[in-house]
Point group: C2
Chain length 319, copies 2
């Protein structure tokens, strides 16, 4: 039998990564484009994306052996194939993504929520292997989540289960969320949430910091992480506070599904113990006794962006 | 074939109700005892409970035809049969309830969380019939919940999924919860939470109220509901605030499981629209756009305490 490939696509707020994946989860080739490369013109983006898919197929020498395409994207609904009301993408919603990609490529396509795709990938190949009850939290441009109970990914009535980034963590906050609400987890724990905390600390504290030399528009969570590693006090406190907020949230999330593990994923999670140590402290301090000392905090063991690609590709095998 | 019965028991913080239930969910006989009737002596309580079970069996003329016992109780774990760390019961935890009841009665016994039992009952016979994604919230001595996704009741790693009453709704609150934490949903929306809100309003406001003539130890949520029906301003505002808090919480709960309905159950839910109208308002005001106008707020259609009994009895049929 010829070797077969699925195309896995991870569409994030910043980058869209396309890869050819074989049945064992090995990635044969990959390319990345900017999600905003065509501005708000979705038709032009689909054109660029189709070309990229073709290049990946050619590079992997996978032509004629591609079974289909699986896509993980924010607010993408597996049931309808539509991206509905995504606040982290440059195009106006709704976007009939499945239909558009099928028309452009001639390949069968399935779409799902990016965080759900990451959870599926982590369950098959990563830190969640053998864990039947976990919550995957993706800390990237937005904050997403995939909730697995008894080995099954929760989907919900409409297909929108697991939008934990939009739970309220500070009801009296002034932080505006792109969803139109105030004080969502995402306004604190996404990449831009981290930079907002650094700005707030620079406003409140007199501490000197190298971050004060960077224009807010240029400041990234990676810069803050790097500064924290060098002991910059604003940066260290920013990471600690991010972990603390996350720990407070997760203490409540535990009351839903009694998980065995929380798995962190995405750019902000790369800060590792700078986040997970204060997170664990805050979680145990705020958690109901039933769950105390029972929940592991893990970070993804898959290379960055690979979990979502593997999870998305896995969709394609069942088309 | 002889007619068979299961014994369903609903053990709440205040009352424990025992009933004989046939396969069609008809209740043939029932008795209620006070959960605190033996103080903190669990052995004496089990003795009284066994006697009550025997009386119910005799009254229903069900002797010899009882297949087993199902019990819904706070913090009861279906997997282990043990009540672990219940803050709403008069006895020290853990309590090996399944083992104790089997020994005392000679009947096979299964236990589960009281809210999960109510959700199971509501799904089989009540308001949740035909609804595959819902959250049942029990507003009684405590606040419990049963979460159903794709027709399956969530249990979680340890068996403790659905403790939504202990999510934090006011992190800056001074309200102490019996769980040892501050600002849990339960401190606002349980029966005693409602009376605490009334006391707080009597402290803050100058409004005259008949509730001011009742000693706090004697004040019940039922009295407040009755006063609200008569237009007592403290009472009306208490019910409105209770609904508002509940709506804020449910707006966040929606982000977990994308439910089709929230089903309210228990004493406080008897206030009906005095709670559900402000609850719906607050829910829609605080909810993520994906869920806006999608979630029904229902109140249990089963007679008070019947859902938990029916759900608990249903456990016994599969023993």
């Amino acid at each position: 039998m010829e070797k077969q490939y699925a195309i896995g696509i991870d569409m994030g707020g910043t980058n869209t990564v396309v890869a050819a994946v074989d049945r064992r989860g090995m990635i044969a080739g990959r390319k990345s484009i900017k999600t905003g490369c065509a501005g708000s013109d979705i038709n032009q983006f689909i054109e660029i994306l189709s070309k990229t898919i073709q290049e990946v197929i050619t590079d992997a020498s996978a032509s004629g052996e591609v079974v289909g395409i699986g896509i993980g994207a924010p607010c993408a609904n597996f049931t309808t194939g539509v991206i509905e009301a995504a606040t982290d993408l440059p195009w106006p919603s709704p976007i009939p993504l499945k239909e558009m990609i099928e028309k452009a490529t001639g390949l069968k396509t399935a779409v799902t929520n990016d965080a759900n795709a990451a959870a599926a990938g982590e369950m098959s190949y990563g830190a969640a292997k053998g864990i039947d009850n976990f919550i995957m939290i993706t800390l990237g441009t937005g904050v997403g989540s995939g909730i697995v109970c008894n080995g099954v990914l929760l989907t919900g009535k409409q297909g929108f289960a697991g939008e934990l980034g939009h739970c309220s963590v500070r009801r009296d906050s002034k932080r505006e969320c792109r969803c139109g609400r105030i004080g969502c987890v995402q306004t604190y724990c996404s990449a831009s949430g981290v930079t907002r905390t650094a700005l707030e600390l620079m406003a409140d504290k007199l501490w000197p910091s190298e971050l004060r030399n960077i224009a807010p528009a240029d400041l990234t969570s990676k810069m803050i992480y790097d500064a924290a590693l060098k002991g910059d006090r604003i940066a260290v406190e920013t990471m600690r506070f991010t972990g603390e907020i996350l720990g407070e949230c997760v203490a409540d999330f535990a009351s839903f599904t009694d998980p065995e593990a929380i798995i962190l994923f995405g750019g902000v999670a790369n800060a590792g113990e700078l986040i997970t140590i204060p997170m664990k402290d805050a979680m145990e301090k705020n958690i109901l006794h039933l769950y105390a000392d029972k929940i592991k905090i893990l970070t993804s063991t898959l290379p960055q962006e690979e979990a979502a690609i593997l999870g998305a590709a896995a969709l394609a095998w069942s088309l």
